[in-house]
Symmetry: C2
Subunit: 408 residues, 2 copies
Amino acid sequence: MIKKITGGVTAAKGFEAAGAEAGIKYQNRKDMALVYSQAPCVLAGTFTSNVVKAAPVMWDKRIVEEAPFGQAVIVNAGIANACTGEEGYSYCKKTAGKTAEVLGIPEDAVLVASTGVIGMQLPIEKIEAGVEALAGKKAGTLEAGTLAAEAIMTTDTISKQAAAQLTVGDVTVTIGGMSKGSGMIHPDMCTMLGFVTTDAVISKELLTKILKEDVKDTFNMISVDGDTSTNDTLLVMANGMAGNKEILEGTPEYQDFKEALHYVNASLARMMAGDGEGAKALLEVKVSGASDKEQARRLSRSVVSSSLVKAAVYGHDANWGRILCALGYSGASFDPEKVDVSFVSSAGQVQVCRNGMAAGYSEEEAGRILAEPEVTVLVDMHMGKEEATAWGCDLTYDYVSINADYRS
Amino acid sequence: MIKKITGGVTAAKGFEAAGAEAGIKYQNRKDMALVYSQAPCVLAGTFTSNVVKAAPVMWDKRIVEEAPFGQAVIVNAGIANACTGEEGYSYCKKTAGKTAEVLGIPEDAVLVASTGVIGMQLPIEKIEAGVEALAGKKAGTLEAGTLAAEAIMTTDTISKQAAAQLTVGDVTVTIGGMSKGSGMIHPDMCTMLGFVTTDAVISKELLTKILKEDVKDTFNMISVDGDTSTNDTLLVMANGMAGNKEILEGTPEYQDFKEALHYVNASLARMMAGDGEGAKALLEVKVSGASDKEQARRLSRSVVSSSLVKAAVYGHDANWGRILCALGYSGASFDPEKVDVSFVSSAGQVQVCRNGMAAGYSEEEAGRILAEPEVTVLVDMHMGKEEATAWGCDLTYDYVSINADYRS
């Protein structure tokens, strides 16, 4: 049993956060965030599979793999610190060094993350001043978590937080997180920026194992535009301050912890998809009846990534042929003449395709269902019992507008 | 030596064509085309790799693989005859039967092709009436070829034809073709609809071999929206009426024939990319210095397919970071710190990235270069000697508009 609660990175015991205006690229808005733990944390992380990795990704991979523990994360929005060579990497070290100095923790306990324009160098003096401001403001309140979640936004229109609790014996364990999107979203073994904190006592090995499994069904199942970013980073920090009996594999607490982490990750992922650049609607694609889990994921991701399906959802057009087409080029094998497709939203449910052909349905009714802000496509392959869900959004004029002049 | 000439499917000896208004879905425009050869033809073809294959694709695959020869192609625009089950396949047979009857040729010498909306059944009486009209109009003139090229258009804004000649001894051999796009374009082992005719004497085996090799560098190197259609079909018909000495592998004529076919295919592919749905600009991506050919193709296709790169071109924004990003998630391995990128158009050339980092350049100059209707991205991987070119287009408001209400 898990309990969903309000909150983000400061929901778990001993975590503090802050947001600050550093003037990196945006004016008159917060653009730097800090997440800090009062106690050293076990770390787990997943990072972009892109061959071109931003400097902070390289820094964090090293910390997660080699450092004994982590205690703080510094995030900036506006400039991605990608394609910046040795100079860019030196700024990661400088940022971590400054943070270590002001917080009194080791340099290699500091993680860094950047998001924004590729190919520009960070204004390191502004970053260092930002670190000082953040250290002076950090607090363990929910409000401080919200300020941090707002500070990491780029083209996001809403900040993204989620939290849940489980009990281990009579001890309450909390997991909370924040993330940002919202373009260049097509994560692969990773996501854009996501930060999850927990006060659970859990080993690094088990935390890593649970995380790598869970991202396959959460952050790796969303797509806004098919572009896998250079900066995708998901970090989980566990500081053990709940004081629970250590969570061990195969126990009921293990199941609850997995469920709570899945809830936080899936909530953040779903919010990122629904707030995709220019999006007017969240598009959810549930594939059932697949012969294996990986095939189910592949099929649902293919539909949610199709520009033509996304444009049809924007136009409230029940163009199910494009869904069959996207299933067909997914790389999965199946019998097209067994496929059923329905559309579901708060306005109702309509089956549009039966056995791979048009089902008798009212275009008007289907259009009404597609006009809602959250639309689900149900696909039944009739081949087996596996299922998967992917999340994306519609393709709109605003996506083009945002990305035709993002840098200016 | 080859010679580029004006013309399309009727450029080669003995080929006739026609276009007609059958009223299948569009009103007041041609929507059916015929290509006919006075003599039986050796056939070669490539078809969609999509698991969901339209009925005419299944019909044509059988004819190309099993029938002794082909002599006519009937094409309709408006309805794709995909996801239409046994009823849809029966209409292919009826269409071929009617064509055989009016032209006095065997039913299994008739190929059929459809393009348009998925999931609707063809109005077979209108198709049969269209076949009669086409048979009455067919002619071997260039104008007749143009009428056919116009009749197969859907969201295309221009008709697409190309032709070239070579000499075998003192005999002139001609190759000509037509094709249509312009959405759901991301061919895989195939293209949308393309029809190429030649009067060359050449064996089926050699024609097939040359075609399969050439599509890797032509039709399989274009992308409009990342969606691989259910109907992609490329047919080549060789009727031998030039009377040349048979073209054999390893001869100079073989090289010329390959070159001429490549010119026709690449011209049609390039035109399809530049006339992608809503496109304002042709985007050409040339990757050089790759370690192997397949890697060069993969890298160039990844850049030309990126929604973010395409939107940046639309906005005349020299956002080269997105190009590095798309190279990085292509699946090819390389050293990001060796990559150079330049933009070229009729307005000039500018290097924007050197060794994976920003090169000193003027954003204003780069913007002027990107404002032209044909833009080339030059990428040098500095790893080897292989190169490849891919073609696509910018991502515009009009793409969204066209596809949000394509069916209505």
